[in-house]
């Protein structure tokens, strides 16, 4: 009896201990997490108050930090080393877990933390060559003393913070996911930039278009994904003269693009939208502004998460005083201004990623066919550690083109469109000096400085916009672009044919660019960079026309512009797609044949001023209509072996509606009769309304745009309760206010240059990465409402400013 009692009670204790001490699926260890002395309870608001004085071994001199009311640090250091040391230290203090998690993702090390669930993604990132890319970036950095020293100091600063932490003070996500911080490294800084490169330039339509070409022929692809896109207003004004003599394009091979009969690449398409993420930027010359000084605006649209992707900061030391947003995990201001210039970025979207079909000799994949001979593959092994599981050794096969991301025998990667057996050629794998760009940009004082700074930028290619206090404005579609024959890389290339290789690069002073254009403004919104007079082929997979055309239409009509006008313009919710296409569609919606709800909806869009405002129903109806209209126009075009039919850009469909209403694409091939635009539009409208009714019930508040679309800012690890969801935002992805469901303006910035620079900005989040802080999401509501904050830009650490609420001195240990 005693034995039974002892054994049973010990056993029960053991079970309780075991249950409280370990993770259960996604549930954190209850004992650890609920412990009031070290669990989540110690991650409260107390950390919000900046310390007055901190001793920091590793600093060479004292660093002064002024904190403004939104807890943005304004750092003043005596030298570059201390400046970036302090940036690393203070960023880690606010964002350590985010920094760790982002590069864990990029480097294929999620499984170490979340176990088997992370394995497929890890495998993908390893095979995609992310670590190799980061290693190459670091190697190139040896030649950039400024950037190299900066990331070394930044890394030391991050590690100084990590060393100062006890278990209690680990960010709460470490506790929830039950792991501990590890030292920061230079490689992690490089990985972060590769994470951005993948995010912005890591996808391509090549596999989907290749499949389409095989099924429908190249003419169909060229028609639906044309080189010269209708309705698009390019970044460089049409008619601009090119001031260079172009290098010749490589010769077009006899049978270009046909995946060689030897190549065995097979395709799989998935639902992933291959389009990159969008952004807006523009700059106005003094001739158009009230003050006579240039104004520069930028709002990059990225996946919206908490903690925010951006960290606001001001960085000052002898020779530099810059402010704006930084990426947690890398030094420098990435988008911002200094006293003389302002700069911004949008994604370029030109083609820097191709797939090459490879024929291997045998299953070992140790040799492959190239130029009439068998070449040896390079094999790189990487080990993926799996929590509560066995290590997985990844054998990465590298060809002269690049790595094989997916083998024929592998299941498709979730939500990724990767051709099996093909090698990846990607600019981001090459040695590059990207970090040097920002080191120099932060210090640039003139157009020439800016030009020199961005010349070292490689990938992801960006539209760099510029304005300075002297009155210049400029924009450059800037990055490392392979020299291609027209159309090279639209489809899978032949990995055995040397004629299909990339042959050199577009010279950096030949990229589409313009300075001080006559019209008094420059702008970009991820559209095609130049019209057909531009002599190089850069790609043909740019974003749709609406944002770019709307920006240019507004700017062209504006004079006497104030920063307030620009803030309003960044929140413009006008739906150019609706305005362009609705007048041609409405006549087909035959009122007499509509039921009651359909008539109500028709009345809504007939009286609509084309603004996608959160409180209106018309945008919801139009959005559903557009989706149904696309489905009914395109989906029936699919023939085997296509797995799905990629939808052409909106401007292609609108061009058909406006100029080719009798086109056979409007015929529904699944019926025996011949349908036309009239019938398809009518049916699409009815099924849009029917679908909404089925999903939401009779028309009511649930039908309003803000509720139907909504914006979710989820926590980076999708922890429930840590995000801000169902935000009723205006706009849409193709509208200037590009607030979509999970993506949107991740930083809105307006800068007026002049004798005194003035800047405004907001991030949909806050400075702190601590979900228990008041400064974790304090910008969200103002961001939804379209408000923006005047930014503090100090000239000295002691400058009096009513928005400065605290000051900290970081001292080196003597």
């Amino acid at each position: 009896m005693k034995w039974t009692r002892a054994v049973l009670s010990l056993l029960l204790s053991g079970v309780v201990f075991w249950a409280a001490n370990r993770q259960h699926g996604v549930v954190p260890p209850p004992g650890k997490i609920l412990n009031p002395f070290a669990g989540f309870w110690t991650n409260g608001e107390r950390s919000d108050a900046p310390p007055e004085r901190l001793s920091l071994p590793g600093l060479e001199a004292e660093v002064r930090v002024a904190w403004d009311e939104r807890r943005v640090p304004h750092i003043f250091a005596a030298n570059d080393h201390d400046l970036y040391f302090a940036q690393g230290f203070l960023t880690a203090r606010d964002r350590l877990w985010q920094m760790d998690f982002q590069v864990r993702f990029a480097g294929g090390r999620l499984a170490e933390v979340i176990g088997e669930r992370g394995l497929s993604l890890d495998r993908f990132n390893r095979r995609f060559g992310m670590i190799m890319a980061a290693e190459n970036a670091l190697r190139a950095l040896e030649t950039d003393p400024g950037a190299r020293r900066a990331i070394e100091a930044y890394t030391a600063g991050v590690n100084a913070h990590i060393r100062s932490l006890g278990r209690r003070s680990y960010p709460v996500e470490f506790k929830l996911l039950d792991y501990v911080p590890e030292p920061w490294t230079l490689l992690k800084c490089a990985l972060l930039l590769k994470y951005m490169a993948y995010d912005l330039a890591g996808k391509s339509s090549d596999p989907a278009w290749t499949e389409m070409k095989q099924a429908l022929g190249e003419a169909a692809v060229d028609r639906l994904f044309p080189y010269d896109e209708p309705l698009v207003d390019p970044i460089i004004p049409p008619g601009t003269k090119w001031d260079f003599t172009p290098n010749p394009a490589p010769p077009v091979p006899a049978a270009p693009d046909s995946p060689d009969q030897n190549g065995r690449a097979t395709l799989a398409t998935s639902d992933e939208t291959v389009k990159g993420k969008g952004s807006n930027n523009w700059a106005l010359a003094g001739t158009r502004t009230r003050s006579g000084n240039p104004i520069l605006c930028n709002d990059p649209h990225l996946a919206l998460n908490l903690p925010s992707i951006w960290y606001e900061i001001q960085l000052a030391a002898p020779g530099v005083n810059s402010a704006g947003v930084s990426l947690p995990g890398a030094p420098f201001v990435i988008i911002g201004h200094n006293g003389r210039i302002a700069w911004g970025l949008t994604n370029a979207g030109s083609d820097v990623l191709d797939w090459y079909a490879i024929r291997f000799k045998d299953k070992s994949r140790s040799e492959y066919w190239y130029d009439g001979a068998w070449l040896k593959s390079e094999i790189r092994t990487e080990t993926i550690k799996v929590r509560n599981g066995r290590d997985v050794v990844e054998r990465i096969v590298l060809t002269r083109h690049g790595p094989i991301v997916r083998f024929e025998e592998d299941p498709p990667f979730k939500e990724k469109d990767i051709p099996a057996g093909a090698a990846l050629r990607w600019v981001a794998h090459d040695e590059s000096e990207d970090l040097e760009t920002f080191y120099a940009l932060n210090r640039a004082e003139s157009y020439e400085d800016w030009l020199k700074a961005i010349a070292s930028w490689s990938c992801p290619a960006q539209n760099f916009v510029y304005a300075d206090a002297a009155g210049a404005i400029a924009i450059r579609h800037n990055g490392r672009f392979p020299l291609r024959w027209k159309g090279q890389g639209r489809f899978l290339l032949d990995g055995s044919n040397p004629a299909h290789d990339w042959r050199g690069w577009v010279p950096r002073d030949h990229v589409p660019a313009i300075k001080n254009p006559e019209r008094g403004f420059v702008s970009s919104a991820n559209q095609k960079p130049a019209d057909s007079s531009y002599p190089y082929y850069l790609g043909s997979d740019y974003l749709q026309f609406e944002r770019g055309a709307r920006i240019n239409e507004l700017l062209a009509g504006m004079t006497d512009v104030t920063p307030g006008d620009m803030i309003r313009m960044q929140n413009d919710a006008f739906n150019l797609r609706a305005r362009t296409v609705l007048p041609a569609i409405l006549p087909y919606l035959r009122k007499g044949e509509l039921n009651g709800v359909e008539r109500t909806c028709l009345a809504e869009i007939e009286s609509w001023n084309c603004e996608n405002l959160a409180g209106l129903t018309a945008p919801t109806v139009f959005d559903r209509f557009w989706s149904e209209f696309n489905a009914k126009t395109w989906d029936d075009e699919k023939v085997r072996p296509m797995k799905s039919m990629p939808w052409p850009a909106s401007h292609v469909l609108i061009d058909l509606v406006l100029h080719h209403p009798d086109d056979a694409f409007f015929d529904d091939r699944t019926t025996s009769g011949r349908e036309g635009l009239a019938e398809i539009a009518f049916l699409a409208f009815r099924s849009a309304v029917g679908g909404l009714e089925k999903a939401l019930g009779p028309p009511g508040p649930a039908w309003t745009w803000g509720r139907w679309k909504g914006t979710d800012i989820q926590h980076l690890a999708q922890i429930p309760g840590f995000g801000r969801t169902r935000l009723r935002t205006n706009g849409a992805g193709y509208i200037i206010n590009a607030s979509a469901r999970t993506k949107g303006p991740s930083w809105r910035m307006v800068v007026e240059l002049g004798p005194e620079v003035k800047a405004w900005g907001i991030i949909p989040g806050g400075q702190s990465g601590n979900p228990g802080s008041r400064f974790y999401d304090n910008g969200v509501d103002d961001w939804v409402a379209g408000r923006i904050y005047e930014l503090v830009f100090l000239k000295s650490p002691d400058e009096a400013n009513e928005k400065i609420i605290a000051r900290t001195t970081l001292g080196g240990a003597k």
Partner: protein, 122 residues
């Protein structure tokens, strides 16, 4: 009562000095093993000392600057009210401590019999 206060103070010290949660199982076990005369006491002392400590510390923490994080963690667990999470914290500590306290007592009971047997032999 003295036992509860004693355990509570020892627990408080250990928890402040070290980051480990499992003192709330170890200390009641030790009490049950070394001091408790009945199983009921071992259970009660563990339950009350650890439960009070964690509940009290959670309340203190919540009121002194952890409102936001408590609210978010409660939401993560699907609880609408932060106080439910505070209550759960106290309760979980109490139950874990009660179980191990009794285990300490039960093991002691075994050893005692063996002690007696050893004495007889000699």
């Amino acid at each position: 009562m003295i036992a509860v206060i004693g355990c509570l103070i020892i627990l408080l010290l250990l928890q402040v000095i070290t980051p480990f949660w499992w003192w709330i199982m170890l200390v009641p076990f030790a009490y049950g093993f070394g001091f408790s005369r009945t199983g009921g006491r071992a259970i009660g002392t563990g339950f009350a000392s650890a439960g009070l400590l964690w509940f009290g510390a959670a309340v203190y923490s919540f009121l002194s600057g952890s409102r936001i994080i408590t609210h978010r963690i409660a939401a993560m667990f699907g609880l609408e009210n932060s106080w439910l999470l505070i209550l759960a914290t106290g309760l979980i500590a109490a139950v874990a401590a009660a179980v191990s306290g009794y285990a300490g007592f039960a093991v002691r009971a075994l050893v005692k019999r063996n002690d007696a047997a050893d004495e007889k032999k000699s």
